[in-house]
Subunit: 155 residues, 2 copies
DNA sequence: ATAATTCCTCAACCTTACTTGAGGTCAAGA
DNA sequence: TCTTGACCTCAAGTAAGGTTGAGGAATTAT
């Protein structure tokens, strides 16, 4: 008898997952560290990923494009079933919440577009004229970069 | 004769500019370091800002909200007149280019929305099915966070 | 004149999202 | 068996966008 043929159910090494997803090996280790993925280990201590992890990593990539931080993504992934492999319905549910977020972002951008347009018209660009950057708004939810401490404009 | 009344042409200290703009003093120094603002100094070596700098800082805030990095903002500000105080027309021109960028972003988001919607429908979420995260696209222009090295999906 | 603010320059530290490298182990092919 | 190549851990470095603190000088208020 020949050795068992490699079925599609075979686990993936970290390098193989990296190739399939386009994510670097070091980034995958980093994701594990942050609790986004949780591969098993083989006898020798090497990571072994399930096929389903390809989808999981894909989700991470999509969510990142939508502006979620890894922390937020980790939270979103909490809602997935713990023991069993997530189904398509599981993914659909969690993706739907991304869609909501995306819609909010589009709406926000459209609002900004409107403000900016009128600001160009009037040339105002000075604080308070438009609420394009109302200090109160600045700490809100659209932030990608680091967040500064609240400056407390107390005057 | 009384001391000259404070005219609106008086220069601002860094603390005053901070209060007017809602940006912290340390951030303003940081912006100077990055070449975004260029205050003069008084006899004692303290920064003295022109009133026009309020508008300049406002622009920085708006541009940041639109997702530009400080480096990109610095570039955009290059186009402002060097010697004289920028006019409203100057600002209108530079703001118009922000508007273009914003439009591109909205378009991109809308495109993503469409992809995501169909992905939720089919439950695919797997690489290549949607080009939601086509590795080739990933390094493109919408990135806020750090950029990873090109993973070279050579298979 | 003196005390309290404000400002100055550095240098070091923080978070996010990773990469790079050192030093060593595991697995697979010739 | 032996030698690559892929993996392992842990520490340190990177870039962006700032913040915090030390040590000292300039302003402002009383």
């Amino acid at each position: 008898m020949p050795t068992a043929p490699k079925t599609p159910a075979d686990p993936l090494s970290i390098g193989q997952l990296a190739k399939r997803t386009g994510v670097s090996v070091s980034a995958l280790r980093f994701y594990e560290d942050k609790g986004l993925i949780d591969p098993g280990r083989n006898a020798g201590g090497q990571r072994r990923f399930k096929r389903a992890d390809v989808r999981r990593v894909s989700f991470i990539l999509i969510a990142q494009q939508l502006g979620l931080s890894l922390g937020e993504i980790a939270q979103a992934l909490q809602s997935l079933p713990d023991g069993r492999t997530p189904t398509q319905a599981d993914w659909a549910g969690i993706s739907a919440s991304l869609l909501e977020r995306l819609d909010r972002q589009i709406e926000e951008m459209t609002r900004m577009r409107k403000s900016l347009t009128s600001c160009i018209g009037c040339g105002c660009l000075s604080l308070k004229a438009c609420r394009l950057y109302n200090p109160q708004d600045r700490l809100s939810d659209l932030g990608a970069g680091p967040h500064f401490g609240v400056p407390q404009a107390d005057e």
